[in-house]
């Protein structure tokens, strides 16, 4: 059970709210967070919550129910700042800049008694530090959420399986192939093969920057899985440099491969017994 701390901070806040906010705004501006300071309304809410928390004497435990409002306020603030692209110190500066006016106020009010001033300063520092750290933590967390959401979106966006013709599907791969992505590509490709009843799948690697042994192994896994389901794979879009790398690495791509998607599509059409012909041969040759 955390100890209850008696402090005069809530009384001081109540008495000097207006000058505290003014000084705080000034401190925020000088903290190097120009244009990033919270507005008067936010500061007032902060002070109200701070008064409620300190009045309850909960200095050590910021997870206590009495701090719920404060945590919510800081959560909103740090999330908003994270999304706007502020730096961590700019975000934490909102809380830390409150130290200066609060310490000045304490100095004025209880400066006469050194022992009391020390005790109050100790409480104030612990409190503000805790709140500042909490803000930074939240800021970090919301940044991480943004990153993981973007990662997820990238995974979903980058693996479309398109139907080129009846019985022919294609996956244009873009970006580096790691095992995570291979798994997703494999799953969506195989599902599409079943759904469309396609016999031929074209895997286009024009957008894959490098092909090393690991990527080749991932490709071959996909090809084997498709073959097990009864579909043939053609790998297309092998750039000249990649062809050289593959040979130098000694990777054996035991699959039909074509230099371009067009070539692969033509082969796929031929295998399914179709062909593309010019509608008016005379015009084409003219």
């Amino acid at each position: 059970m955390a100890k209850r701390h008696e402090t005069i901070i809530p009384t001081l806040i109540e008495k000097h709210q207006k000058p505290l906010i003014d000084e705080w705004m000034a401190a925020q501006a000088s903290f190097g967070t120009s244009g990033t300071s919270g507005d008067v309304e936010t500061c007032t809410r902060f002070l109200t919550e701070l008064r409620r928390g300190t009045a309850a004497g909960e200095i050590e435990n910021l997870q206590a129910p009495v701090w719920n409002g404060m945590r919510e306020l800081l959560g909103e603030q740090s999330r908003a700042r994270a999304l706007k692209g502020f730096s961590p110190s700019e975000t934490a500066g909102f809380v830390f800049s409150f130290k200066r006016p609060l310490f000045a106020l304490l100095q004025r009010e209880v400066g006469a008694s050194a022992a009391q001033l020390a005790a109050e300063l100790q409480i104030a520092t612990q409190l503000i530090d805790g709140l500042g750290l909490y803000t930074t933590e939240l800021f970090q967390k919301s940044r991480e959420e943004v990153i993981s959401r973007q990662q997820q979106e990238m995974l979903e966006l980058s693996t479309p399986v398109v139907q080129l013709w009846e019985g022919i599907v294609a996956v244009p791969l873009i970006g580096t192939l790691d095992s995570n992505r291979t798994q997703i590509v494999m799953e969506s490709l195989l599902q599409q093969i079943v759904a469309s009843g396609s016999q031929i799948a074209i895997i286009d690697i024009t957008g894959v920057p490098t092909v090393d042994t690991l990527v080749a192994q991932h490709l071959l896994k996909t090809v084997s899985a498709a073959r097990l389901m009864g579909a043939d794979c053609i790998i297309s879009g092998i750039r000249p440099q990649i062809a050289q790398t593959i040979v130098h690495l000694g990777v054996e791509l035991s699959v039909t491969s074509k230099a371009t998607m067009a070539g692969a599509f033509e082969l796929a059409l031929r295998r399914t017994g179709k062909s593309v012909v010019d509608r008016k041969p005379s015009q084409a040759s003219a």
Binding site: V194, G197, A225, L228, G230
Partner: protein
């Protein structure tokens, strides 16, 4: 004891696995399938595993074995209707069943067997000429 039915369609044997395969059942299937190939003089074997949700390494290897044994008895084996999840599992297990031919569904499987048998006969005709 439960048994997996083996149907004769033209000169092909059709096996549709609708129950979970346990090892004993799989071995019994391999046994009766080989007997049936010899008895009926079948040219092709089609194994439909579209209802199979789980395949372990034993069943995977058994499918491969059936294909090899059938080839010895001059019958082409085609495995049809493998589920995506099963295909991924087999690849992760390192079983690519390189000796087995595959097709998407029963329809395409029958067409594939027909093509294989016709191809073999054409080859024979060509040699006779």
């Amino acid at each position: 004891m439960e048994q997996i039915p083996i149907l004769m369609v033209g000169d092909c044997l059709l096996v549709s696995i609708q129950v979970d395969m346990h090892d004993q059942l799989a071995l019994a299937l391999q046994d009766s399938l080989m007997t049936k190939i010899v008895d009926s003089n079948a040219r092709g074997v089609m194994i439909d595993i579209s209802a199979l949700q789980f395949v372990d390494s034993f069943i995977g290897r058994l499918l491969n074995n059936i294909a090899s044994m059938a080839r010895v008895l001059d019958a082409a084996t085609v495995v049809v209707g493998m589920q995506p999840a099963v295909a991924i599992t087999l690849v992760e297990l390192g079983l690519t069943l390189s000796g087995v031919r595959t097709a998407l569904n029963v329809d395409k499987g029958l067409a594939l067997i027909r093509r294989i048998i016709d191809g073999e006969e054409r080859e024979l005709d060509r040699r006779e000429k």
